[in-house]
């Protein structure tokens, strides 16, 4: 495709909805008004790990303004699910409403639907759950050590099981142990990221409105309308065509609105009551209940030669998935596939584990799996440079991948421009590079 003579592509033509934003005219999902709209609030687990002895909803049902109370027994279709089941990821492991056990503090147990948000909240507060607390496990490495209790029967060792019974998403490229033995230096470190809230200014929410034609329209702020609709239909065991999902402009996503967290239960409540039902996460729910960016722990070991060539990189990483799978197996595959970063290293070994803990389930956020990888690799690169006494700019330029280099996942580099990007950043920052490094290009190995 020719890049010449472009007309409007490449031009800053403004952003279409800015004036509407500035005037307050942009319609978000909750800016529609329906008469007789009900509100849904969730009674959530107070324990990070416990057997549920009993659930008593009688006081909630009797609470003023409460219209409907929903437990797992009211679910017409699935009791447990996973959002990627339709594309073959499994097993489905997450209860839609908890029944026998709770595995994280905040897990939904009973949905309470009321005439007002306050009535629903007050009703939900009156649900009584009796727990038999179980020991919890919160640290990823403790979770997969033998002594920790298994969170679910699906994962006896508390880690996701990849195809062929692998404990991790793997990369095996070259022979790292041989390269370590031949390396002039071994550089190792441990890296840790934290669970981070996507914190969109607008919390997760939807309004499910029954129409006269047997269909239900869902105003939602999901980042993926078809995905949310198809999962909602699958969970409730209804034809997807009965649902119409309508998005608008979303008040920020950042990966925080892909969990289909609010739509299924709202649709069920709308089906049960015949009235519009709104379920909007409170800010507290958004922070402690909605899935966070996964926390990752990485161990990085590099074999490095005196001249700066990195000859081997071995990475063991642990993604803290929290109590359930959600999209974590995808995230660790993306993480593994990103290694060893924008560098050509002839020997690479990666084990990227998904680990289950009694923490809130984690999920995607801006740079799923890659942010933690980039963080660890780039802080590691500085340690490598310091260890061998090399300028960190030169270290990166020397090792940066070139077009047609073979990556660890056995795909050749295409569209590579890391060298040029680093050189431009050096210029922008006033960093002088030796002539040989200024002369490098992303095509120089191909040429030479």
């Amino acid at each position: 495709m020719s890049m010449k003579d472009l007309g409007v592509v490449g031009r800053s033509v403004g952003q279409r909805d800015l004036e509407s934003h500035a005037r307050g005219q942009t319609a978000y999902y909750e800016d529609v008004h329906y008469p007789r709209m009900l509100h849904l609030k969730m009674h959530r687990s107070a324990e990070p790990h416990a057997r549920i002895v009993s659930v008593d909803t009688s006081a909630a049902e009797a609470s003023p303004g409460v219209v409907c109370v929903l437990t797992h027994e009211d679910l017409p279709g699935k009791k447990v699910w996973n959002g990627l089941a339709a594309v073959g990821v499994g097993p489905e492991d997450e209860p839609i409403l908890a029944f026998d056990k709770v595995r994280w503090r905040g897990e939904p147990i009973v949905a309470v639907v009321g005439e007002s948000a306050e009535a629903a909240r007050a009703g939900a507060a009156k649900v009584k759950v009796e727990y038999d607390p179980l020991p919890g496990v919160f640290d990823v490495e403790e979770a997969i050590a033998g002594a920790a209790p298994a969170l679910t029967a699906h994962w006896p060792r508390n880690h996701y099981i990849y195809p062929d019974d692998h404990a991790a998403a793997q990369i095996r490229f070259g022979d790292v142990e041989k390269a370590f033995a031949e390396a002039d230096h071994i550089v190792e470190d441990k890296y840790q990221t934290s669970p981070i809230e996507q914190a969109p200014m607008e919390t997760n929410g939807c309004i499910a409105r029954p129409g006269g034609d047997g269909r239900i329209t869902v105003h939602t702020n999901t980042q993926a309308v078809h995905f949310a609709r198809d999962n909602t239909a699958a969970i409730l065991d209804i034809a997807p065509g009965r649902l119409r999902f309508l998005g608008g402009t979303v008040g920020g996503g950042f990966g925080g609105k892909v969990d289909v967290a609010v739509e299924p239960i709202s649709v069920l409540a709308a089906m049960r009551t015949g009235r519009p039902v709104k379920f909007k996460y409170t800010r507290e729910e958004e922070m402690q209940v909605s899935s966070t960016r996964s926390a990752w722990r990485l161990y990085v070991k590099d074999g490095v030669m005196n001249d700066g060539r990195i000859t081997a990189r071995k990475i063991t990483s642990y993604q803290d998935s929290g109590a359930y799978l959600r999209f974590s197996s995808y995230g660790s595959m993306k993480h593994a596939g990103h290694m060893p970063g924008p560098y050509t290293i002839p020997n690479v070994w990666v084990d990227a584990h998904v680990v289950f803990t009694n923490r809130p389930p984690s999920s995607a956020m801006r740079g799923f799996g890659v942010m933690a990888a980039s963080f660890a690799i780039e802080v590691q690169m500085d340690k490598v440079a310091k260890t061998i006494g090399m300028d960190p700019w030169q270290l990166r330029l020397l090792n940066a991948y070139r077009n047609d280099d073979m990556k660890a996942h056995r795909k050749e580099v295409e569209d590579g421009a890391m060298v040029e990007t680093i050189q431009a950043a050096a210029r922008l920052a006033g960093k002088e590079l030796p002539a040989a490094y200024q002369a490098m290009t992303s095509w120089d190995r191909k040429a030479g």
Partner: protein, 161 residues
């Protein structure tokens, strides 16, 4: 609890709504008067997305009981466009890309208006302080600060002419 008739002056109009005595100004503006520019990002006073002017002063409508501001002049973002013309402050937000998702924008514009009404020529630091109760997750704030700087220049230019 029994509902109550609450009389409010909003964007220059007399309004009467029947609401719970503990209804917040945010509830009444959004749900009863359908002034949906007022957003509800946290309900905790932490984000500023629900900011409105009460007698010209910036307030959080989520933490204000509607019945306690009876008799006061309330201005929402919609109140800036009573004649449908976009005002210079809004235009500055547009030109500086001071919004992406737009959810914080109404509160941000109202905070900026409150600041400029008091201080027509704020320094950059004063702008930063004046917007410090309003969060934005998209823009990184710099475009918003620039928009307010531009608006201040535009407003002072108007006054001079």
């Amino acid at each position: 609890m029994e509902s109550k008739l609450i009389r409010l002056t909003v964007n220059g109009r007399e309004e009467a709504v029947v609401a719970d005595p503990l209804a917040t100004l945010q509830d009444v503006l959004r749900d009863s008067l359908e002034l949906t520019a007022v957003k509800s990002g946290c309900g905790q006073g932490g984000c500023g997305s629900c900011s409105v002017l009460v007698d010209g002063e910036l307030r959080l409508s989520c933490l204000t009981l509607a019945e306690r501001v009876e008799g006061a002049e309330i201005t929402t973002l919609e109140g800036l466009n009573e004649t449908n013309a976009i005002v210079p402050l809004q235009q500055a937000f547009v030109e500086n890309y001071a919004a992406q998702c737009g959810y914080c924008t109404a509160g941000m514009v109202m905070a900026a208006k409150a600041l400029l009404d008091r201080n027509p020529a704020p320094s950059r630091d004063e702008i930063v302080e004046g917007l410090s109760g309003n969060l934005c997750r998209c823009t990184g704030f710099a475009p918003i600060v620039r928009a307010v700087e531009q608006a201040a220049r535009a407003l002072s230019g108007e006054e001079a002419s």
